[in-house]
């Protein structure tokens, strides 16, 4: 999934002007940015290098403007992924991207559908956190075969957890001006729209 136009439609329905672009100038001059993603981690990294966006993304984030990663877009922020062999990511958060297929208790992959989030109390009062009005246990739409695992020193980036077939994994992170979700806010109905609105109209 991760239809670029879905995200644009969602933002525009909230009155937020959005463009779909890979132009470095347009990206750097925007008030906020979203990195979505479809396909595989190595493919996405390849494309980012080809479009010379690897450094542009880091540059944007360094400006302190709001930056959101969605699904594969969240995974790309991490150090590395084991999808189709080991590939290095943007390394803005210490940790790895790991396959659900390694967990014996998980019978169906990908994880598809609505699942709930448990909010990490430590991050609940972070003023940058767009989940402040979202209740514990709220449902959002997931579709993924890999999950992120922050390094022990980076556990404080964990914003929410979600449980799939008894397996608990990190479903969103928050670090300075970065916020990223494994789930798709643009496909999670009204609650998803609230998250987009809260993060970008601050």
């Amino acid at each position: 999934m991760s239809n670029l136009f879905s995200i644009q439609n969602a933002l525009e329905s909230l009155g937020i002007r959005a463009i779909v672009t890979s132009d470095p100038k347009k990206i750097l001059s925007s008030d906020g940015a979203i990195l979505p993603g479809v396909g595989s981690f190595p493919e996405a990294v390849n494309q980012l290098h080809q479009l010379e966006l690897f450094e542009i993304i880091k540059k944007f984030i360094a400006t302190g403007k709001p930056f959101m990663g969605i699904c594969l877009g969240m995974q790309l922020l991490f150090s590395k992924s084991e999808e189709f062999g080991v590939t290095e990511g943007l390394d803005l958060i210490d940790g790895s991207v790991i396959s659900f297929a390694n967990e014996a208790q998980i019978k169906i992959v990908p994880h598809v559908g609505w699942n709930n989030i448990q909010i990490n109390k430590e991050n609940k009062d972070n003023p940058n956190n767009p989940l402040q009005t979202i209740k514990d246990g709220e449902y959002f739409y997931f579709v993924h075969s890999f999950y992120v695992k922050p390094e022990p020193e980076s556990m404080n980036v964990i914003n929410t957890h979600t449980v799939y077939n008894g397996f608990k994994f990190c479903s969103s992170v928050i670090k300075e001006n970065m916020f990223a979700t494994q789930f798709h806010p643009e496909k999670s109905g009204k609650k998803g729209l609230i998250i987009l609105k809260e993060f970008f109209t601050n």
């Binding site: 239809n3 329905s13 019978k107 990908p110 609505w114 699942n115 739409y141 496909k187 009204k190 729209l193």
Partner: protein
Amino acid sequence: MSVAFRIIPRLDIKGPNLVKGMHLEGLRVLGKPEDFAKYYYENGADELIYQDVVASLYGRNSLHEIITKTAKEIFIPLTVGGGIKTLENISDILRSGADKVCINTAAVNDPEFISRASKMFGASTIVLAIEVIIQENGEYMAFTENGRNATDRNAISWAIEGQKLGAGEILITSVDNEGTGCGIDTELMSQVTDEVSIPVIAHGGIGDKSDVLELKKSNNISGVAIASMFHYDFITFNRSLDGYDEEGNTEFLKSNRVVSNINPSTIKKLKKYLSSNGINSRL
């Protein structure tokens, strides 16, 4: 807690109209698809399926306009099927605003199409739709063209192969039960879910909330696509013909008949019922 059981209204669309038939034919006009879609989105639908039921007649899928309209106002996953034959067709449908596509005939004719589509668009974007009719010897056979063309494929084996080729989900339609409200073929659904490890969505025959409970309790199904039970509920208070095209069989809508064997229900009532019976549903 884990992932919720998905309730997915299925809208069969013919031109400007939402239609409903039995065994995937004999289509009655029930109203405008946009009205149904909006109502379902605002009242608990987890996803939506739009099926172009005359795609084979015109040789293509013609839903682009309604997909685009939907994508601007409805923010849950939308799956579109009917007449999707090439990678370009898939690209057009996704660009219009759909999130997933259903393929049936094109995959049966060229199984490698599933692989090519999966590699290009991501496995989770590609749903393999299998229409099933029971044969005299009790075997489940796969069909195409809204259940009109027999293939020589066993439906279960085809589902297994579909997963190997890269499909992200399987949608199984029991053509025998579709539109009848007589209940779902839980045996068919069990046989498929026993053999694949990707999500399976069941479709065909739901006439009452208890059919859905029976379905979920008897196997590891990920969701259910429902048409009659929801559409016939919506039209109990939305039966106006204002602004509809005169094309299509509107006799049913003009009369005030109900359909036997179908106990209309809203999505919310269904989910509350499932929840109170121990099924994880997004309320």
